[in-house]
């Protein structure tokens, strides 16, 4: 039921304006601070980055700081009013690349799929539609194809848009995407054979720019050897900051703490990182992961081995943000290569 329709450049802004009019649209712009997205009022505001944006859109569904509930210490009354939005009204998150859209789908695996849902994430996720843009110019640090994603992957997106020379192909992926497009009331003519051919050509060009970083074929049995010697070398130059986990679109670890001020207080959830030394410190002083070797091993194993056993999917989308931002240039691709090539 996926439908390819075409919008010429001159009509694209009108298409966006209709979306903005009917829904609250969020996307990357010039002044989105450390959020990575802002409320879009006019189509010109949307600024697509070449390759992946600075920040993943994890922050939209799983913010770095989130109030679980507030309470009054005197009366012990808890106010967890979760703002339910009325049905039919939903937000639009636009401007994701396919890897970020896949990352949102992977986060759903943790927060929404299991029977105990995370109500905060689930609420926001259920009322948000994702419009992604296919990646026609991957960066040198992108390695989505090595982990089973691709510059034109549709997983996690409701609508995917291909940017051709003088027109856009809008492809509705999910039923919600279909309603979204019809909801604009705009007339779209179907994509012709020529449009599709140009799209395919653009995508093969994009894929040709992607160099294969590593192969995951025999990664599973290599990672089964938990006490392999290479872990000691791999972690040596890591300085244990949290950049790679905070920028990773699929990292979902968090801490729960209480803030109080006078008799008012709130229980908040903030991002946490397995790379921090106190992440697993027991009150008795015992720490199952005392040095950065265990922590680095946990980060790699969780994304490439444990997630396979838990969800049958890898928790890495190949966006390369951990490679770009690491202060000591500890390159995840080199780490995986070293593991797969280890005897």
């Amino acid at each position: 039921m996926a439908r390819d329709c075409v919008v010429h450049n001159k009509d694209f802004d009108r298409f966006l304006a209709l979306l903005i009019e009917k829904h609250s649209v969020f996307g990357p712009s010039d002044n989105d601070g450390s959020n990575g997205f802002t409320r879009i009022e006019t189509p010109e505001q949307i600024k697509l980055h070449r390759g992946v944006a600075h920040f993943s859109f994890k922050n939209f569904f799983f913010p770095q700081t989130e109030v679980l509930f507030s309470f009054d210490l005197a009366s012990k009354k808890i106010d967890a009013a979760n703002k339910e939005t009325e049905d039919g009204k939903y937000d639009i998150l636009i401007g994701l690349r396919p890897c970020d859209a896949l990352a949102v789908d992977l986060l759903d695996q943790v927060f929404v799929v299991p029977d105990t849902k995370d109500v905060y994430y689930a609420e926001r996720r259920s009322k948000t539609r994702i419009i992604s843009f296919a990646c026609n110019e991957p960066c040198a640090t992108c390695f989505c194809e090595s982990v089973g994603c691709a510059p034109d992957s549709e997983v996690g997106a409701d609508v995917i848009i291909y940017v051709l020379k003088d027109r856009y192909i809008i492809r509705t992926v999910s039923q919600a995407g279909e309603e979204l497009i019809n909801g604009t009331g705009m007339h779209f003519d179907a994509a012709s054979e020529k449009d599709r051919a140009e799209k395919e050509q653009m995508m093969t060009d994009a894929k040709s720019q992607l160099t294969r970083a590593f192969s995951v074929d025999e990664l599973d049995d290599k990672l089964a050897n938990f006490d392999a010697s290479y872990w000691k070398q791999i972690c040596q130059k890591c300085i244990g900051c949290g950049i790679c986990t905070y920028f990773c679109p699929t990292c979902h670890c968090f801490d729960i703490t209480d803030d109080t001020e006078g008799s008012q207080g709130r229980r908040i959830r903030t991002w946490d990182s397995c790379m921090y030394p106190l992440f697993t410190l027991h009150a008795s002083g015992h720490n199952p992961r005392p040095t950065k070797k265990e922590r680095m091993r946990q980060r790699i194993m969780h994304k490439f081995s444990y997630s396979m056993q838990q969800y049958g999917r890898r928790l890495c989308v190949g966006c390369g943000r951990c490679v770009v931002h690491c202060p000591v240039n500890l390159d995840l691709r080199a780490v995986i290569r070293e593991i797969t090539e280890a005897k």
């Binding site: 913010p63 700081t65 989130e66 109030v67 803030d259 001020e261 709130r266 903030t270």
Partner: protein, 150 residues
């Protein structure tokens, strides 16, 4: 700030770290001698001005007070000989840094008050309080429960 709070004029909340041997004794003397001075200070007694870690000053500003005073023995009088000398270096750097990043210098004050200077203690407290009262509440460093995250 509910209704009746807004109606009253602003009265600053000031944390005063007083060293147990001199400044606290000076404060005690001021009290015993019935010297009137502003009641805005909340006294925290510490063994020595050298005990004050800049972290405590920042924690005070973060927790919603409008000013911090740290008072100890005059150099040379320290019960622990060199506590206030070490403190003086820390205070110089804390004062310079907080002023540099844009916090009004009057909000963080340091003083030497000996056990015999009851009058002087009362005068310093009044001076510090009036200076901070003029500045108004310290809102921009206080713990905001604003939901920037959501």
């Amino acid at each position: 700030m509910n209704e009746e709070n807004r109606a009253q004029p602003f009265e600053p909340k000031i944390i005063a770290f007083l060293c147990n041997w001199c400044s606290y004794a000076g404060a005690d003397l001021a009290g015993v001698s019935r010297f009137q001075y502003s009641t805005n200070i909340r006294v925290i007694k510490v063994p020595c001005s050298g005990r004050i870690n800049p972290l405590y000053i920042i924690k005070a500003l973060y927790s919603g007070v409008d000013g911090v005073l740290v008072s100890g023995c005059h150099p040379g009088d320290c019960h622990y000989i060199s506590g206030n000398y070490f403190a003086r270096r820390k205070f110089a750097l804390v004062k310079r840094f907080l002023e540099y990043i844009g916090i009004e210098p009057e909000r963080i004050q340091f003083s030497w008050v000996s056990a015999a200077e009851g009058v002087r203690f009362a005068q310093i407290i009044d001076k510090v309080t009036s200076e901070i009262r003029k500045l108004g509440p310290l809102t921009y460093f206080r713990r905001d429960t604003g939901q920037k995250g959501t």
